[in-house]
Amino acid sequence: MTAVIDNPMTRSTRAELLRLRKWPAVWVTVAVWVALALMFGYLFPYLSYRTGDLSFAGDGDTRAQLLVEMLPAALPTVLVQGLPMFGGALALVLGAIVAGNGYGWGTWKTVFTQGPSRPTTVGGSLVALTIAVVGILALTLVLFTGVSLVVAGVESQAVTWPAAGALLESFGGGFLVLEMWALLGYTLGTVARGPALAVGLGLVWALVVENLLRGVGALLGPVEAVTEVLPGTAGGSLVGALIDVSANPNETPGILDVLSGGQALVTVTAYCVGLVVLVLVLVRRRDVA
């Protein structure tokens, strides 16, 4: 291939992709993600469908409903329903290790003395991270499609495909939510100059503090106003809008209907843009020893 575009940005992206592709920690994160997604998306629902034990599936569900949600037509919903909780958490970890480890290893120092400017180098790193996020989501979609076809086959159900528009919307929304969490992790890893503190604080924030705040917010008006602009609220609401959470509330933790779909989309996008700007500003002038 001689036709590749060669400029400092593509060079930086290709370099970062090379080292991410060969990083076991990335594949561990992907494997955990796939395992969790399959478990909660198909394995547990299927077990409870087969055994007739509906306790896992929530109160409102019937066996027929359970089956419907495992068929190809439900792919847009299943693809994104795990994102607000474990999907976001794993994306945050991914972002934090991609940005943070290089400070301890001294690899940012080495990379910053190769030629491309710092914004270009880090920009390439962010593009590579984004490609990884898209890749993980695409891999998930492929796996889920396969599993749902198997379920349809085993249960002798006719295969109906979801509307392309719905699938696209779900993929796009899911991508934005994962990207926001990955960028949040990247930002924390950059600020902390290491992955450990970033991962710790990020997870405590995403999984604990935000939920507590939303609990308090239900009682206190001013706190509620704050919780509405938090990343967890925005991401949860975006997914909630995609899978029409108001139809069956309280089904999956982290999925919310605090914000409208439009508001959530704007907030998540604003986070993505704002975090990229913040990272570039942070890295541009800082001392890297």
Binding site: D6, A15, G106, K109, T110, Q114, G115, A289
Partner: protein, 309 residues
């Protein structure tokens, strides 16, 4: 000026109360091997970091290849190893270099050439974290060499190398300079610097004490003479070398004469009835000069009691 590859002007870096680098103005010329000398904590690494744009000076400027330090177009023409090699531990040595080569827009041929140059081809497939200290160091040097940069900055390149590795490194640096590349290397191994450097800058306590050619720093050659009776010997020596060129030291006489003057001197001494026990040419080693400078320098780096008078 194009033949100044590095020029710093009042370069200063302050960390809180501590002046790590204090108004350093140094110059590195095209094609030379420049030795940057100083004891631990002198400010060598900090100065090099400022030249590479890794850290920002508190005051002063550094220009590299005629442009302000740290500009991308400058950095692309410089290869550097600063304060130890920084590589991805999970990648092989070769993949680490391939990653860096991609940033530079270089192909795998540049990677293989660099690995061969530091004698790491055999172990290039091993993961970086499994490397020994010396192998890590050599990979760091290899990455600085990739793509034939005009200026190569090596911060203590022989750190962790065995004697054979050190000799290889010296030969490598000399061959780089022969090939027209400029090498700026920091070290506290003076014997090494003395052998391969054209010019040196001596830094201590953040201050550049001296910048000069190695032979200038070492000063004139002398002859050391042990002979009895000493008074008679001094009389002869003064006649041969001149009155000012004779010094009495605890080890005998020190004469400001080159080694080539020894046979004539010995003949004259013997003719005058003096017994000659020893005549040896001595050149002050860089090490002696260095200790003189760094221990009597007007800084607070060394406690007064420890100063050599």
């Amino acid at each position: 000026m194009d033949d100044l590859v590095v020029q710093t002007d009042g370069l200063t870096k302050r960390y809180g109360e501590r002046l790590a680098v204090d108004s350093v103005s140094m110059t590195v010329r095209r094609g030379e091997v420049y030795g940057f000398l100083g004891p631990n904590g002198a400010g060598k690494t900090t100065t090099l970091r400022m030249m590479l744009g890794l850290i920002r000076p508190t005051a002063g400027t550094a220009s590299v290849l005629g442009r302000p330090a740290g500009r991308p177009d400058v950095i692309a023409r410089v290869g550097a190893l600063v304060e130890g090699p920084g590589f991805f531990p999970y990648l092989s040595g070769r993949d680490n270099l391939r990653t860096m080569a991609r940033y530079r827009g270089l192909g795998d041929d540049a990677v293989d050439a660099a690995l061969a140059r530091v004698d790491l081809t055999d172990r290039a497939g091993d993961r970086f974290k499994a490397y020994s200290l010396g192998m890590k160091q050599r990979l760091g040097v290899a990455s600085a060499l990739m793509g034939e940069p005009e200026l190569i900055v090596l911060d203590e390149p022989t750190n962790g190398l065995d004697p054979a590795g050190m000799a290889d490194m010296r030969a490598l640096v000399v061959s780089l300079a022969r090939g027209g590349q400029t090498v700026l290397l920091s070290s506290h191994l003076l014997a090494e610097v003395q052998e391969i450097c054209d010019r040196v800058g001596v830094i201590n306590g953040g201050r550049l004490l001296r910048e000069a050619r190695v032979d200038e720093l070492r000063g004139e050659a002398t002859l050391r003479v042990r002979a009895t009776p000493e008074d008679a010997a001094i009389a002869v020596a003064m006649r041969v070398a001149g009155e000012d060129a004779v010094r009495r030291t605890p080890h005998g006489l020190e004469l400001g004469l080159p080694a080539s003057a020894a046979p004539a001197l010995v003949r004259d001494l013997v003719t005058a009835g003096v017994d000659v026990h020893e005549v040896s040419p001595t050149e002050r080693s860089l090490e002696e000069v260095f200790f003189e400078m760094t221990t009597t320098a007007p800084t607070n780096a060394v406690p007064t009691e420890a100063r050599v008078s």
